[in-house]
Every structure is written in structure tokens, then in C-alpha cells.
């Protein structure tokens, strides 16, 4: 076993364990349907979290993602639902818009040496504010294309639906893995997170890399916004409030260090699945009231992170002995 992947194995193992516990406890839990739902229900979170993974690996953070999802959704709603444009015209527009939004934040961060946390927090205010100005009501999207997208997909055995969102997610994961490990930009991103000063001295094009990172995150958030609009057939300025924290939590649970420099896309995907299965577990249980729901989420999160720490530490110590 390779020590670098210990945390990945541990995290994946814990996910399996949770799934097993749920299956033993509830009817219908241990089904392909529940598994497939995990992907469909969390596709937008996963796509955002993958963008966030790159940002965090580079030592930054992006708090604007939830707001960008909302802004994208509202923009789609207004342009498709109200202005009557075709989705295939609108999607490239909002994707480019999301990318530019991220790029602008990246430029502010790099050129004016501002801290990512704050720049993206301002970005979050701005995106949500713009969404509210575009429409403070929720806008329904009614278009035959959306119906087609909703029907696109296939049933796997066990009534498990694999739809467009899941397929988009799969493409994003594949693309992200290639970007992270088989492209120069990927190397630069890890390098920046390791030590920005050294990276600069080693000839990493810091400006270009920083701007690209936030542009990728903005782009993926916009994509997540589109997937979210497939999920709800609408756009709403208060959608995805607090999603940035879910995304960060998923990334960190997936084994990426917030200090930057190390982490894996696949880890993030597992992180998202873990957050999702915690939710599924709670809704299958169905006896918790509002506050116990919060407390139990907190406790499960804690139990999980503590176990992960312990197991990873033990795994690594095992390596040292060998």
C-alpha cells in the first residue's frame, strides 16, 4: 500500500462502512437506487467541490461558489424562462461568465496581493447580490430542452437512474484527474500550494496559474449551477446558501490539506458521497427533529473525521515501521 494514498483508502473504507451500517438498519437502503441517488442528488455539490479542490490545493479558498451557482441559476431562469433564449445559447454564456467572474477574483488576488478568503467572500456577496437584482423571486424554467435532459439517461438494475447530471459529473471528474496529474497546470497548482515563493523562483507562471485556478473554480461553479437548474427546473437567488462550506468540508474530508499542496480529486468525490450518505441516513431514519438533525450531522462529521485521523496516523506509522 502506498502511503500517499492511505487517507484515500481510509476515507473510501469509511464510506463503505457507513453504507453497510445503513443497509443493515433500513429496508431499501442497500440498493443501487440509493447509490445512484447519491450521485444525482450531489452532482452539483461534487462539481463545485472539485473546483474547490484545485483552489484549496493551491493554498487558496473560494467562498463564492454557492452564490455563483445561484447567480447562474437565476441567469438561466431569466434568459431561458423569461427572455425565451434557447438553453444551448445560454449555457456557453453563463459558463464563460462564471469563468470570467473567477478570473477576476484571481486577478485581484494575484495582482493586488489580497487574501483569497476575503476576495471570494466579497465575490459571494456580489454574486448573490446580482442574482437578487436580476430577480428576487424564484424563476421557473420551462423548456423542452430541459424535459429532454430530464429524460436523458438510463435505468440500471434496481430502479437506479443514471441521468445527465451523473454523466456530466463523470466527465468533470475525468477531466479534473487529467488536469491534476497529467498537465503542467496541475503541477503548477500543487507547486503554488507547496510554497508560492519557491514556486515563483522555480519559474512557475504565478499570475497565469492563480487566475486559471479561480477561473476553473468559477467555471465549474457555473456548470454546477446549470446542473442545479436541471435538478430544480428553476433559478432562485437564495439557492445553495452555505454550499461553500459543504464543498470545503467535502474537500477536506476527502483528505486535501487546507494549507495547500496536497490532495486528490477522487478524495473530494468520496468526501461528497460521505456528506450525502450522512444526509440519506438521517432522512431514512426520519425520527430526528430539526435540532437533533443538526447535532447528529455534527456528531457523525466528528466521528468520521476523528476516525480518519486515527486510521491515517496509524497507517502512516505502519509505513514508517516497514
Amino acid at each position: 500500500m502506498n502511503s500517499r494514498f492511505t487517507s484515500l483508502y481510509v476515507t473510501g473504507g469509511l464510506f463503505m462502512l457507513l453504507f453497510l451500517i445503513g443497509s443493515l438498519q433500513f429496508d431499501h437502503f442497500g440498493s443501487t437506487r440509493v447509490l445512484a441517488n447519491l450521485f444525482t442528488d450531489n452532482a452539483f455539490l461534487a462539481i463545485t467541490a472539485i473546483g474547490m479542490t484545485f483552489v484549496i490545493i493551491s493554498g487558496g479558498i473560494d467562498l463564492s461558489v454557492g452564490a455563483v451557482i445561484a447567480l447562474t441559476g437565476v441567469a438561466c431562469g431569466v434568459l431561458i424562462g423569461e427572455a425565451g433564449l434557447h438553453p444551448l445559447v445560454v449555457f456557453p454564456l453563463v459558463l464563460i461568465g462564471g469563468g470570467l467572474f473567477g478570473a477576476t477574483m484571481g486577478a485581484l488576488i494575484h495582482y493586488y496581493k489580497l487574501q483569497p478568503f476575503i476576495v471570494t467572500l466579497a465575490g459571494m456577496f456580489l454574486a448573490r447580490g446580482l442574482a437578487t437584482i436580476l430577480s428576487d423571486k424564484s424563476v421557473p424554467i420551462d423548456h423542452s430542452f430541459y424535459d429532454a435532459v430530464a429524460d436523458f439517461g438510463t435505468f440500471l438494475p434496481g430502479d437506479a437512474w443514471v441521468g445527465a447530471s451523473t454523466l456530466i459529473l463523470a466527465l468533470v471528474v475525468a477531466g479534473a484527474v487529467v488536469l491534476a496529474h497529467y498537465s503542467r497546470l496541475g503541477g503548477y497548482i500543487y507547486a503554488l500550494g507547496g510554497n508560492a515563493q519557491s514556486a515563483r523562483l522555480m519559474g512557475v507562471p504565478v499570475a497565469r496559474t492563480t487566475i486559471s485556478i479561480y477561473a476553473i473554480s468559477g467555471f465549474l461553479s457555473a456548470l454546477a449551477g446549470i446542473v442545479y437548474s436541471f435538478y430544480t427546473f428553476s433559478g432562485y437567488s437564495l439557492a445553495a446558501v452555505g454550499m461553500e462550506l459543504d464543498a470545503i468540508a467535502a474537500v477536506v474530508i476527502g483528505g486535501t490539506l487546507l494549507t495547500g499542496g496536497s490532495g486528490y480529486v477522487i478524495g473530494t468525490l468520496i468526501g461528497v458521497l460521505i456528506m450525502g450518505i450522512i444526509q440519506t441516513y438521517i432522512s431514512f431514519d426520519g425520527t430526528l427533529n430539526s435540532w437533533w438533525t443538526k447535532i447528529v450531522i455534527g456528531l457523525l462529521l466528528f466521528a468520521f473525521i476523528a476516525m480518519q485521523r486515527l486510521l491515517t496516523a496509524r497507517g502512516n506509522r505502519g509505513m514508517a515501521h516497514a
Partner: protein, 363 residues
């Protein structure tokens, strides 16, 4: 033999190091955030001159300026604790939830018939420290990353507060406790005084003992601090406890203010405001040098901004956009590169206008 003769050393009194005295000198680090605040106030002067009126109503200072100070009290308390946490390279997302829990504990003690106001306040403070200790343990003993460690209590904490309140807003009537939120001493609202007292206490603790130095040392280079024999764990434990305590006090102000504990909304998203304030004050989230004074300036900037927006009568849907633009502007003000660019722009404008004046004179 020194490379630089002592004379040369004397010629350059520029000291990039931070302030060590109790009150800081006015150097570049302090100038820009203050300038941001002054600019905001100037905008208010233009928008509504009554902003600066301060009257005495019922033996109490009354006016928008006082409101800004008064309303900023909870975030100011949070920011004081947050400054220390951030200085060690950490972050505390749970302070909002801590406010809710402390408020709920106090409210239920009051409703439950605890008469001694001291017991109630002590209870609130104790719960704050306890929560801080939990965060501190997760961070320093289990080695969980601060943002996730405190996220746990951010989520669960609000649930705990609701559990204590059984999901309702617990309303109480208690003169003494309400005083914390709405009372005043010599016309000055009590929350403002409380902030000043906490600020003074923590400032003394940090600057008149070696704690401040240890906090900064741990924040700048945890590895080196370990070799130095600084007990990084204890230092981290301490800052989270202080942050918890400050949050509990803020929670008591919030509860006393509305004479009730609203577990769901008390302190909601205030952790972000507190972090924002600390960073607007110029602190680095990577840890290191800190200044409580600057964090308080940051708090005032944020509160001033929200009051301005309400006073100006702009439709609420523009609130967020305005807030974001002002925040970016205040941050840019502190960026040397932006300062240089603005300088160049102003110089250009001047030379142009001079030229046009010259041309006109010629014509």
C-alpha cells in the same frame, strides 16, 4: 565590525515591525484601514448630516453614531477573539453558534428561576469557555484542521442551542440581565463599555505578558516554535477558549438586547462578519502579526456600512452588491500596488488639467 555604520542605522527609523506598546503608532499599517473608515463616514455626512447628531435622550446618548458603536458590539467581541485565533493560523467558524448557545443557556436559567444575575452571566461565560475548549482540543490534540474542527460545532452548536430552547424563542423579563444589552452607564450604552473592557483586558493580557509574542510565534512558524519550547498546544487551546468566551459575551448582549434567546438566528453568519473585520484590519489568515485595534476598526467599517445602507433608503435588494463593492474597495486601499496606481492616476489627471489650464492661458 558591522556592515552598516551605526549612523546609517539611525537614519532609517522605519520599523516594519508591529506595535509593542499598548497603543499603536500611526504608521502605514494603521493609516489605510482608518482611511477606509473615514471615507465611509464622509459618505454619510453627504447622505445625511443627522448621522452625526448625538443627543441625550432619557439620560442616554442617542444617535446614529452611537448606534453604529452599539450595534457593532457583538461582532466586535467576536472579532477580538477571532483575531487571536487567526493570529495562530486558525479560524473559528463556531462563534455564531456559540452566541446562540450562551444566549439559550442564560435565557433558560432566567426563565428557570435563577435569581442571581452573577450566576447567569457566569453560566453563560462558562459555556463559552467550554465550547472554546472543545474546539481547542480538536485543533491542538486531535490535529484536525481548524476550519473543519470548528465547522462541527458550527453545525451542531445551533442544534444544541435549539435543543436547549426546545425550538422556541425563549423570552425572559429580567431588568439586570437586560441591562447587558440595553443599559447605559453615564449615557454610554453598556455593550460599548463591555467591548472596551474586554478589549483592554485582552490587550493587557497579550502585550503585558509574553502571550502575544507566543501567539504570533506559533502563527508565523509552528515548527520553529516547537523547537523553541513554546507550548503551541496550550497557546492554541487558550485562543480558542478566549474566542469562546468572547462569543458567549456577544451572545448575552444579543439575547439581552431582544430580551429573548433566538437559537436559530442569534449570531447567524456573524462568524463571517468577524473574520471579514479581522482581515479588513489587515491581518493575514495564515497567522502571524495581529492587532486588536485594527480588527476593531474593521468591525466599525462593516457596521458603519450596514447602517449607512439602511439609512440611505436604497432598496434592500442592492444591499449585498453595495457591501461587496465597498469591501473590495477598502481592501484595495491597503494594497501597495493599488496605492501606486491611484497615485499615478492622480498625477496624470493633475498634469493634464495643468496642461489644459496652460493651453487655455495661451489661447
Amino acid at each position: 565590525m558591522n556592515n552598516l555604520p551605526p549612523a546609517a542605522a539611525k537614519e532609517q527609523p522605519v520599523s516594519p515591525a508591529g506595535p509593542r506598546g499598548l497603543l499603536p503608532p500611526l504608521n502605514g499599517r494603521y493609516l489605510w484601514p482608518l482611511l477606509g473608515l473615514v471615507l465611509l463616514l464622509a459618505i454619510n455626512l453627504v447622505l445625511s448630516p443627522e448621522f452625526f447628531q448625538v443627543k441625550l435622550v432619557d439620560g442616554r446618548l442617542y444617535g446614529s453614531l452611537i448606534d453604529v458603536l452599539n450595534r457593532s458590539a457583538p461582532v466586535a467581541l467576536l472579532a477580538i477573539g477571532m483575531t487571536l485565533v487567526i493570529a495562530t493560523g486558525g479560524i473559528d467558524l463556531s462563534v455564531g453558534a456559540t452566541m446562540a448557545i450562551a444566549g439559550a443557556v442564560c435565557a433558560n436559567m432566567l426563565v428557570g428561576g435563577v435569581d442571581s444575575i452573577f450566576l447567569v452571566v457566569a453560566g453563560g461565560m462558562a459555556i463559552g469557555i467550554l465550547i472554546g475548549a472543545v474546539n481547542g482540543s480538536l485543533v491542538s490534540f486531535l490535529g484536525i484542521q481548524p476550519i473543519v474542527a470548528t465547522l462541527i460545532l458550527m453545525v451542531a452548536g445551533r442544534g444544541i442551542a435549539q435543543l436547549i430552547n426546545a425550538g422556541q424563542i425563549v423570552t425572559f423579563q429580567n431588568e439586570a440581565f437586560t441591562f447587558i444589552g440595553t443599559g447605559s452607564v453615564f449615557g454610554v450604552p453598556f455593550p460599548i463599555l463591555l467591548v472596551l473592557m474586554v478589549f483592554a483586558a485582552i490587550q493587557l493580557l497579550m502585550r503585558k505578558t509574553a502571550l502575544g509574542l507566543f501567539v504570533e510565534s506559533v502563527g508565523c512558524n509552528a515548527g520553529a516554535s516547537h523547537y523553541l519550547g513554546v507550548n503551541a498546544r496550550a497557546v492554541k487551546m487558550m485562543v480558542y477558549c478566549i474566542a469562546g468566551l468572547c462569543a458567549a459575551l456577544a451572545g448575552m448582549i444579543a439575547a439581552a438586547d431582544i430580551q429573548g434567546s433566538d437559537a436559530n438566528n442569534a449570531g447567524l453568519w456573524l462568524e463571517l462578519d468577524a473574520i471579514l473585520a479581522v482581515v479588513i484590519g489587515g491581518a493575514s489568515l495564515m497567522g502571524g502579526r495581529f492587532s486588536l485595534v485594527l480588527s476593531l476598526v474593521g468591525v466599525l467599517i462593516i457596521q458603519c456600512l450596514s447602517t449607512t445602507i439602511i439609512m440611505s433608503g436604497v432598496p434592500p435588494k442592492y444591499n449585498l452588491v453595495i457591501k461587496s463593492l465597498v469591501v473590495v474597495f477598502v481592501l484595495l486601499l491597503q494594497s501597495p500596488r493599488f496605492q501606486a496606481q491611484m497615485g499615478a492616476l492622480i498625477a496624470l489627471a493633475k498634469s493634464k488639467s495643468n496642461k489644459s489650464v496652460g493651453e487655455r492661458a495661451e489661447a
